[in-house]
């Protein structure tokens, strides 16, 4: 009996062994080193020098660029993610019909998500928002003055937000699957009782979809915080104009691999981890007030 238990444990650890080894080598050791580096001044060439909390105090008191980067990243996340989820939900509801063209539409709306993370799309985005790009042409067509997207830091940030919202397709697919799992009988019963479209939306659709929305909100928030490629490509690695696209990850990358402030960059990474942990907990703990689980006791 004892022997078979041992055998079971051995098999278990044989199979998940690669994960444990990888976790120690590529996650735990780096995390601990990163915490240590965050208290040092380290340029990669001479050994790290312990400076206590200096990196952290410098960030919040002596580095306006850091605070600016933090601020625009918050704007990017809190404007981009809700807009993206809202578009995803609206389009998912529009596509939740029996029309034969839905398959085609679903593919078309998903395509931006499919290619959105690529360098090619970031390059494309850079060109369509250029001074004589098609976005300004379209604005001119409907009578709005051309915007100099690369001349104004706020406009440049919104250009990045639009790129993020443009990729609502993958969330849309998840919402669509969620909508299809809501029993049709609920809507029929509500119709019999004379419920309006909005009543059905707020009393059936939204509560039934809330667990999926919660999951998406968390994952998208984390993902948005780590956005790197579009900011890097669109600003050609500078974060400009006037640091308007200097998202957190880009600034961290520049501190680490352009200025070789490895200690400072590690401290930035830890603050990022803490912010993400706080945001995730907030979304998670407030979820009991707005997430509806089908059966009591959760999933």
């Amino acid at each position: 009996m004892l022997q078979s238990h041992m055998k079971q444990n051995l098999w278990g650890y044989l199979f998940i062994g690669p994960f444990i080894i990888g976790f120690l080598a590529f996650t735990i050791i780096p995390i601990i080193s990163s915490l240590y580096f965050s208290f040092t001044s380290y340029d990669l060439f001479s050994p790290p020098r312990w400076i206590g909390l200096d990196n952290f105090t410098q960030m919040f008191t002596e580095d306006p660029r850091y605070l600016h980067s933090l601020k625009i990243t918050f704007i990017y996340v809190f404007a981009g993610v809700p807009l993206r989820l809202a578009f995803a939900l609206i389009v998912a509801m529009l596509l939740n019909t029996a029309s034969r063209a839905v398959g085609l539409y679903r593919t078309m709306y998903y395509l931006p998500s499919l290619i959105g993370g690529s360098v090619a799309v970031a390059i494309m985005w850079r060109q369509i928002f250029g001074d004589d790009g098609i976005v300004n042409l379209a604005l001119g067509f409907i009578g709005i003055d051309a915007v100099r997207w690369f001349g104004d830091p706020t406009a440049a940030l919104w250009m990045l937000i639009f790129l993020s919202v443009w990729q609502f397709g993958s969330s849309m697919l998840i919402f669509l699957a969620g909508l299809k799992s809501i029993p049709q009988s609920y809507y029929e019963a509500a119709s019999v009782d004379g419920a309006s479209f909005f009543q059905k939306f707020f009393n059936i659709t939204l509560p039934m979809l809330s667990p999926v929305i919660l999951f998406n909100a968390i994952m998208q928030t984390i993902g948005a915080f780590m956005t790197f490629v579009p900011a890097f490509i669109i600003s050609k690695g500078t974060g400009g104009p006037l640091d308007g696209t200097l998202l957190y990850s880009l600034y961290l990358f520049k501190q680490g691999f352009e200025f070789f402030h490895m200690g400072y960059a590690s401290a930035m990474a830890w603050i990022m981890l803490i912010i993400i942990a706080i945001l995730t907990s907030i979304i998670f703990f407030t979820s009991r007030f707005w997430v509806h689980y089908e059966s009591e006791g959760g999933r």
């Binding site: 199979f15 590529f26 780096p30 995390i31 080193s33 078309m108 290619i115 369509i128």
Partner: protein, 279 residues
């Protein structure tokens, strides 16, 4: 009856029109790649290349320095292949362990795995770089490919969910037939999880093909550049203003993504809808 038709028409104009509006930039990029470089922004409002030229593709394909674009595609293909094999082997083994085997500490390690799902890469980026530098692995594919052989939390989770839907009776029958644990994995489970493995392979391809940060950190000689890095180089050399070549190679870089999507659409859509993978 008539109003129903009108409603339908409005729906298709609205939903279809918005879809075309969203895709317009991509269509514009592709069509512009067939215009002479000097025309692209002069005739930006028109989609039809007139004259229709292929010179952008010829120029872009030459790459830069001594290395043609073909070299970058080959490098990226090798990179993708190594990561793909790594993910398929390691994730299926690990997922089988979590989904089917009972051992002390399983729930603990599973929770750890879920937590690493939410860990930002930035936190481990710098120490990993230092570790790989110490190992002498800089300017090689090793730092990018070796970690793939130790699993990836997203795909492990996806496969665990999939394996849980397979009836345990199959494992029990195989045990009675004299299979050991590895044989159950290899002969019973592996053939049944092919659809989930396909999803794993497709998303591994997308994420690796698009990866820019990793190659930017670890590869520094142009003969090892990936497609993403080459496009970034085109952009840095923009002073030449060769829009056409940049657009052409951007289009080339999107072709494999589109082709794989249209062949395996079912797995992509199911993968996203059931597991919440971000695409």
């Amino acid at each position: 009856m008539k109003s129903k038709h009108i409603k339908k028409l409005i729906y298709h104009v609205l939903v279809g029109g918005f879809a075309i509006l969203l895709l317009y930039p991509v269509i514009w990029l592709i069509m512009s790649s067939f215009k002479p470089s000097s025309d692209i922004f002069v005739t930006a409002e028109s989609l039809i290349p007139n004259p229709f030229v292929l010179e952008n593709y010829a120029i872009g394909w030459e790459g830069f320095g001594d290395y043609g674009f073909g070299t970058f595609i080959k490098n990226t293909a090798v990179f993708v292949a190594f990561v793909l094999v790594g993910h398929l082997i390691s994730c299926s083994l690990i997922a089988f362990g979590f989904a089917r085997l009972k051992f002390v500490g399983r729930n603990f390690w599973f929770a750890i795995m879920i937590m690493t799902l939410m860990l930002p890469y930035e936190v481990v980026m710098i120490p990993q770089y230092i570790i790989f530098a110490e190992l002498g692995w800089l300017n090689s594919l090793k730092p990018l490919a070796v970690p793939a052989y130790f699993g990836h939390p997203f795909f492990i989770f996806l496969l665990v969910q999939f394996i849980r839907t397979i009836p345990r009776e199959l494992d029990e029958a195989a045990t009675i037939d004299g299979c050991n644990t590895f044989q159950i994995y290899y002969r019973v489970i592996l053939p049944l999880i092919v659809p989930a493995l396909a999803t794993t392979a497709i998303f591994t391809f997308y994420w690796t093909w698009d990866n820019l940060l990793g190659p930017v950190l670890y590869l520094n000689s142009p003969e090892k550049y990936t497609v993403s890095m080459a496009l970034n180089m085109f952009l840095s050399n923009e002073t030449v203003s060769n829009w056409g070549a940049m657009f052409a190679m951007s289009t080339v870089s999107l072709i494999p993504v589109f082709v794989i999507f249209f062949i395996f659409q079912r797995y992509v859509v199911e993968g996203i809808s059931t597991s919440g993978l971000k695409g």
